[in-house]
């Protein structure tokens, strides 16, 4: 798992909200409901996101109790994405359009014809495409309430927040930040918001 890697990059959250009474069983049920589902070859869905056990990206169907490590919830988010390069899509569309022009002996195709060709090409290519998989771990210290997600891009974190909050319903993620850390240590929002940036610049003057 990511934490055992030589170097790790994380974004931190504070988990907020009422944890369910029967915590372990409830959490397991919710994880299982939002477990990862493979994109079937005939499926045109481009992206699939869900939970898998850490160290076992293909174990979504039998998520056991290994996610609960005595005070820590440890799990991975798997994202599968079917991706077709736009140049490939364009090339196939041109080829199909030429076929249609020759067959119909027309000089040009209508907007609707071009649209349906494009859709047919996308269906064909998506059915043939193999998804690209990626797995991102998190661990949640249920005693401190801090959760560490092993990914730092905004886009990835937004996907993680969405899946987490969809899975755990009444539990929310509060992004840690300078404000978040101060707020979690009982510094009031009012006093933090009263601060204005200081200038350390010698040239910009001495406004402080």
């Amino acid at each position: 798992m990511a934490i055992n890697s030589n170097t790790t990059s994380t974004r931190r959250y504070r988990v907020e909200g009422q944890l369910p009474e029967n915590f372990h069983d409830e959490i397991r049920d919710r994880i299982q409901k939002s477990a990862f589902r493979e994109i079937e070859a005939t499926n045109l869905k481009e992206v699939s996101i869900g939970w898998v056990p850490v160290n076992n990206p293909f174990g979504a169907e039998d998520i056991d109790d290994s996610f609960d490590k005595d005070g820590y919830i440890v799990l991975s988010m798997r994202i599968d994405k079917k991706s077709i390069p736009s140049q490939t899509v364009k090339a196939y569309i041109v080829k199909e359009e030429q076929k249609h022009l020759e067959a119909s002996k027309k000089e040009r195709l209508s907007y609707n014809e071009r649209k349906s060709i494009k859709e047919a090409v996308m269906v064909k290519l998506l059915q043939q495409a193999l998804p690209i998989s990626a797995v991102y771990d998190f661990f949640w210290n249920t005693n401190t309430g801090y959760l560490y997600f092993f990914g730092t891009s905004d886009d990835l974190n937004n996907k993680f927040i969405e899946l987490f909050e969809e899975t755990f319903k009444d539990i929310h993620l509060f992004k840690m930040s300078p404000y978040g850390i101060a707020a979690s240590k009982s510094i009031s929002e009012e006093s933090i918001l009263s601060l204005e940036p200081s200038s350390f610049s010698i040239q910009e003057g001495q406004e402080d």
């Binding site: 790790t8 990059s9 490590k69 210290n141 930040s177 404000y179 402080d208």
Partner: protein, 179 residues
Amino acid sequence: MGLLETIEKTEFLGSEFLTWLWYMSEKHTGMFEIQDIGSVEVWFYDNVKLEKGKDGGNRESIICKGATSDLKEARLGLRTGKRLKEARLKIIIDDDEWFLTIDSGFLDFRQLKTPKIDKSDFAGDDKDADAAFYEKVYLFERAVNVIDNLFMAFIQERLSNGWHQTAVPAIRQWIQEGI
């Protein structure tokens, strides 16, 4: 004010924290006293990134590399109004060393390297795998604890009258002296 707006409005505290930390590290030859941990060394190590401007505008950024005392270009950047965006730190507690890059935005930890654990101690069954996990998590959270404590020391000073009267002039002087 919404949460996102509050986070954005206070984002500057991340880069001010890094500037303060760099100054404090040099002033106290890296030594800090941290509650529940004791003596901790924190050094700016190897590289820093500075920025000026915002998303969508004319953003300038520079990356400065070198030993602590050689980061003159970075200090020149601070002097001309650039702000610290990222800093590579080295934390030492007893014989253990951590390396990490802190991003000023969300104070994300990047490329965190914890002290080495002896993998041969944890090479057996699942129980050993769990023990290795707990050991790594302990080391990881120790670094978080250090940074949180330092950040709170900064916030306490930042909210005090001493910030404008003493800290800001002292940091400006330190920037000036280092060029």
